[in-house]
């Protein structure tokens, strides 16, 4: 077996028993990146030298008897999470040369735990997109079939995990940006409860929806990374001061007595692919077979979620992205002598078309005369969506659904139809509107050989229930053991 194929927990056991060193492991991952990156295109920045230096430190720590579950483990970080002295571009021309002077809270935690940062991975510009095609830097291909998109916006993270170009990864999820690429690339991805993981140092897209989370090769690794990044941070005023359980302890529990909710509205949604529907139905049967009980639940406002989301998210984005003005950091058109002209020219040169489109939608929705009709209305519908979930979780522990209505689509196929792209987020974005956690676990393959994911959603701060269901399902199936041929 090649070292780069290891999971976090497998690598940890070998590091702990001194059968391998972090330097060997990191070198193996870097060699793998070098060999497959021209085809996959997952990385924006590979930090080979600093990664090897971190690996050397990790080996010293291990030799001194100091080992955490992440000591010496090579990880890839989505390029909108700030890493001190390591370029963080948000896959945007406007931040192409931005070098953060500080670490995000989660990066501080990972570094303290002794993790190795291999580099920064690709995404849709400012996380706006579902295919990573909106990256202003490069294209990422799905490792299972290079003609297909990896999903997005955390497409680089998902592709890097699937192609063994890292041992684990961090992404961010504003409307499905961890779960959907995880589903399309056949890996595990979790969006935690809003407030569970600090957003300090996460470049803002839509602040009331954004959340950082792990993308990993299996559910155990998801629990390990969740343990590492969760917890209160005074630096994020939306961070929740609540104790974090050890998520790995829930892996051992069985599913007896667990109630699974199946939202009845989800089956009636237009555009649901027959193979995806079949794979999810089979997954539900498997989980029932493991002792869980299924109940039908209703989320009556489901059909309004996309519309509410595509008012709220662009509105928040238009406000957040006002900071890119060519003054404090990033690109600047130095040829302009007038301040307003400089703003306009810099922003027009720096932002890609999807970002501009969303800024315009958001500015429109917030502009005088339209605020009540759009933003206020969407925020009221958001309340109704939250109430739907509250009601549903009275009769079940977790909800099961597809992650995306179809497997990955071909690169370029939806580039000119933004609305069609937005509609594909229907199963995932409700969780962001409601602030609840959601995860994707591999549950099948299309006849074309593209991965399909099962979504598990839980109530606020119920990640452990999702992890328990996901782990039992994973152990009863072998989808997670399949690897793309590269």
């Amino acid at each position: 077996m090649n070292l780069y194929e290891l999971t976090i927990h497998e690598a940890h056991n070998l590091l702990k028993s001194r059968e391998i060193s972090s330097q060997e492991l990191t070198k193996s991952v870097l060699d793998r990146v070098e060999s497959v990156e021209p085809r996959v295109g997952a990385y924006i920045t590979v930090a080979g030298e600093t990664a090897m230096a971190q690996a050397e430190l990790a080996d010293k720590a291990i030799a001194g008897g100091n080992i955490t579950h992440l000591t010496g483990i090579p990880l890839a970080i989505k390029d909108l999470i700030c890493t001190k002295d390591l370029r963080t571009t948000c896959a945007s021309k406007i931040l192409e040369n931005f070098v953060p002077p500080y670490d995000a809270f989660v990066i501080k935690k990972l570094k303290k735990a002794g993790a190795v940062i291999v580099g920064k991975v690709n995404m849709d510009e400012f996380a706006m997109g579902s295919s990573t095609e909106h990256s202003g830097i490069k294209l990422t291909n799905n490792p299972w079939d290079l003609a297909y998109i990896p999903g997005g916006s955390s497409g680089g993270s998902a592709a890097a995990v699937a192609a063994d170009m890292c041992i684990g990864s961090l992404g961010s999820d504003t409307g499905g940006s961890i779960r959907q690429p995880a589903s399309h690339c056949g890996v595990v991805g979790m969006k935690p409860t809003y407030g569970r993981v600090s957003r300090f140092g996460l470049v803002a897209f839509a602040s009331s929806l954004d959340q950082i989370g792990p993308l990993t090769k299996d559910v155990t690794d998801c629990a390990v990374l969740m343990n590492a990044i969760s917890g209160y941070d005074a630096g994020d005023s939306t961070s929740v001061p609540m104790d974090v359980p050890d998520y790995t302890t829930f892996l051992k529990e069985g599913l007896k007595g667990v109630k699974i909710g199946i939202p009845k509205e989800y089956n009636a949604l237009p555009g649901l692919d027959a193979e995806v529907s079949e794979a999810v139905k089979n997954a539900v049967k498997t989980i029932e077979g493991l002792g869980a009980e299924c109940v039908e639940v209703s989320l009556p406002h489901t059909e309004y979620a996309v519309a509410a989301y595509y008012v709220i998210a662009p509105s928040e984005a238009s406000s957040n992205l006002a900071r890119y003005d060519g003054v404090k950091y990033g690109l600047r058109d130095k040829g302009k002598n007038d301040l307003i002209e400089m703003y306009r020219s810099t922003r027009s040169m720096g932002f890609g078309s999807e970002v501009k489109r969303r800024i315009i939608i958001g500015t429109y929705c917030l502009s005088a005369g339209y605020y009540d009709a759009y933003y206020r209305k969407a925020s009221q519908v958001r309340t109704l969506i939250i109430e739907d979930f509250k009601r549903a979780f009275k009769s079940c522990d977790v909800l099961l659904s597809p992650v995306a209505p179809t497997p990955a689509f071909k690169t370029g196929e939806r580039a000119e139809d933004p609305l069609k792209m937005y509609l594909s987020d229907i199963f995932t974005l409700s969780a962001n509107l409601a602030g609840i956690p959601g995860m994707s676990v591999p549950c099948g393959f299309s006849t074309q050989g593209l991965p399909i994911g099962l979504q598990i959603m839980g109530n606020h701060f119920n990640e452990e229930k999702m992890i328990k269901v996901a782990y039992n399902f994973e152990q009863a199936t072998d989808f997670h053991n399949k690897k793309p041929k590269l």
């Binding site: 040369n97 931005f98 002077p101 409860t193 809003y194 407030g195 009331s208 005023s237 939306t238 929740v240 406002h301 059909e303 309004y304 996309v306 519309a307 595509y310 008012v311 238009s318 006002a322 003005d325 060519g326 003054v327 404090k328 950091y329 990033g330 690109l331 600047r332 130095k334 302009k336 002598n337 007038d338 301040l339 307003i340 400089m342 703003y343 306009r344 922003r347 027009s348 078309s353 501009k356 489109r357 800024i359 315009i360 939608i361 500015t363 429109y364 759009y374 209305k377 009221q380 519908v381 958001r382 309340t383 109704l384 933004p418 609305l419 937005y422 509107l433 409601a434 602030g435 606020h460």
Partner: protein, 105 residues
């Protein structure tokens, strides 16, 4: 010409409004983008209209999905970034300050 040029009076957003909103957001758009955005955004806004089917009389709007209300801290100076580090990414700087084009003529 594209389909977006038909039935202009029924559009939710016109090319003129796209230009106005882009101006508010400090964005310059070329003729081609104005036409494309008007058509695409019009489609999106038309879709968003389904929200009007939902009865929201008396429903409080949500801006924050979890139970936290406010996070207060003491107004005390804490550790902060060194001035030079804070300025390190600035496209133009001088004597520890950001440099901008002349604002007042």
């Amino acid at each position: 010409m594209g389909a977006g040029d038909q039935g202009i009076e029924e559009m939710k957003i016109t090319k003129k409004e796209v230009v106005h909103v882009a101006n508010l957001a400090r964005l310059d758009l070329d003729e081609e983008s104005i036409g494309k955005f008007a058509e695409q955004i019009d489609n999106i806004l038309e879709y968003i209209d389904i929200l009007n089917r939902v009865e929201t009389e008396g429903v409080a709007p949500t801006s924050h999905a979890i139970f936290l209300t406010n996070a207060f801290r003491e107004d005390k100076v804490k550790e902060h970034l060194d001035r030079n580090k804070a300025l390190a990414n600035a496209p133009e700087k001088e004597d520890g300050n950001f440099v901008v084009p002349k604002v007042i003529g």
